[in-house]
Symmetry: C2
Subunit: 319 residues, 2 copies
């Protein structure tokens, strides 16, 4: 059953002993949502907890860890926040599959696995939806709640930079700052700080980057031995493929990553003039207009020749 | 004479044949302010132009160049936007010194060099003040005006990341997006695109960066021969000193730049634990708590020894 903000608020108003779930590889939005909702419900006098997320990182732990449910808690009402499908439940949330009372989300792909479902694909961050629900519940927007909402909204929109940022996103951010949080300091930690492994990975991208076609094509090579030396994890590698495209004049950014088994992953990122999916289809891969990929088992140097040839062809075809 | 938003709007309402000035080394805020104000005044049926800025860059030219005043224009009312003092007038604005009718600005240091002065230091971008004035004038907030305001606000606040971002900043951004502009695409151009020289400069910082004290101190060396090879201009070098501090764990980021005359500029950037000004005072320089500098005429290697020694001492003193 689909509900609107008022419907979700009414359901929460009627509920108690509430358990809130977050998704695997928890990010700022799912933890911000859960943290804000739990604190808001408690302000209304309800017993509410967040299920421990075993994959939580140091950065987002303060948002949810203080609200973790004790062992003897018997939840009567289950809420999921920012979880697109039950497959994304953390392992310890297994028992709640098929038992979610209220789904609050913003993923278009969410088919509504709860008894009630508030899904708003127009929201840049799911935390925007949580904000609306909290307001409908009459929760006072205290700084601890505002900080959770702000982290959710800002991380999911690239600090208001991405195209998913709407007027509503900015209105929610305005409310958060009005509540008295230190947005500048939060953003410094979230957006101006790089891990050492991430820094080392960027150094490799910068060091290996070569330019072709008068700077319209850039190519970086991430050799396994170099990756291993940095100690980079999946988070550190996240979005590294987009670095090549950030340079002025680059229309096709290619990144080759040597996997542990010797196979090679190629990522293509393009500006709107060139279709990345066509480039990757030429070498057996595929993807989207601006972001596509392909796999090779012929080694890095041969993969470089093949993807570069495909990129050159498509670059000239697009002119 | 100090005026508020209503006072500035009334003055503009009574004026005609208006010329708008922008500051030297024009940025997104001064050009966004002038572009929005000029277009808004024209919507009200007034004759309004922007004085050509000889230093305009390709990025911001579209905001003001279409509104440049023709040679035979005889302005009756002069407005300056985002200009903190008359020293910052472009050379061709020389004749208007002492003759500005209305100053609209957000710099705290602005002492009010106009006949009337609307100065709001609380505004993250001066374009926020322009927005308020346009609303007071009853201007319809069309996309071309909204785009100017958005560029002003977003560039001056680091895309809503810096601590000068307020609830009002976000409210103005919300109005801009509601007007129908493509914020995502504007931000891609403004914040996700690096010039090749800037990229090459960052590569040098990354390549030369060394870590001391278990990663708490980072030091980068920008040799003149390397800088010259990149073709970097002042814009490309802007804020390069802050890169060292962005790495997790770094409390003191040092950048040494070799000047054309062989002297060396040292920049220190610190997190809140360490006082950058104390480090630089030890070697004859000075500055602020988190950003300070010093000059050397002993060559790069000797300067490195001296500033590093000072940083180490202060780092340990602060623990």
């Amino acid at each position: 059953m689909t509900v609107d903000v008022a419907g979700a608020a009414a359901a929460l108003q009627a509920a108690d002993d509430i358990l809130i779930l977050t998704h695997r590889r928890p990010d700022g939005d799912t933890t911000g949502c859960a943290g804000a909702l739990c604190r808001g419900l408690r302000q209304l006098g309800k017993r509410a907890f967040i299920l421990e997320n075993p994959e939580i990182t140091a950065r987002y732990a303060p948002l949810i860890a203080p609200c973790y449910s004790p062992d003897d808690f018997s939840p009567q009402y289950i809420v999921s926040t920012d979880i697109a499908e039950e497959k994304l439940f953390s392992d310890n949330a297994e028992p709640y599959k098929g038992k979610v009372d209220l789904v609050i989300d913003h993923h278009r792909s969410n088919c509504g696995f709860g008894r009630k479902n508030l899904i708003r694909p127009d929201a840049g961050g799911c935390a925007e939806v949580i904000y609306d629900v909290l307001m409908a519940l009459g929760v006072r927007f205290m700084p601890d709640i505002a900080e959770c909402v702000y982290v959710g909204v800002s991380t999911d929109t690239g600090c208001f930079k991405f195209s998913n940022t709407t007027a509503h996103t900015h209105a929610v951010a305005a409310a958060c700052l009005s509540a008295g949080i230190d947005g500048g300091e939060i953003n410094r930690v979230l957006f101006e700080t790089k891990s050492r492994p991430r820094f080392e990975m960027e150094r490799i991208v910068f060091d290996t980057m070569e330019f072709y076609e008068d700077g319209a094509i850039a190519l970086a090579m991430l050799w396994r031995a170099d990756i291993d030396k940095t100690g980079a994890d999946l988070d550190d590698l996240d979005s590294i493929a987009s670095l090549t495209r950030q340079i002025e004049g680059v229309q096709v950014g290619l990144t080759l990553t040597e996997n542990a088994d010797g196979t090679v992953k190629a990522s293509a990122r393009t500006t709107k003039e060139v279709d990345a999916s066509v480039i990757c289809k030429k070498v057996g891969g595929g993807g989207h207009l601006r972001a596509a990929g392909a796999s090779f088992d012929c080694g890095m140097e041969e993969a470089k020749k093949l993807i570069l040839q495909a990129a050159r062809e498509q670059y000239h075809a697009a002119r």
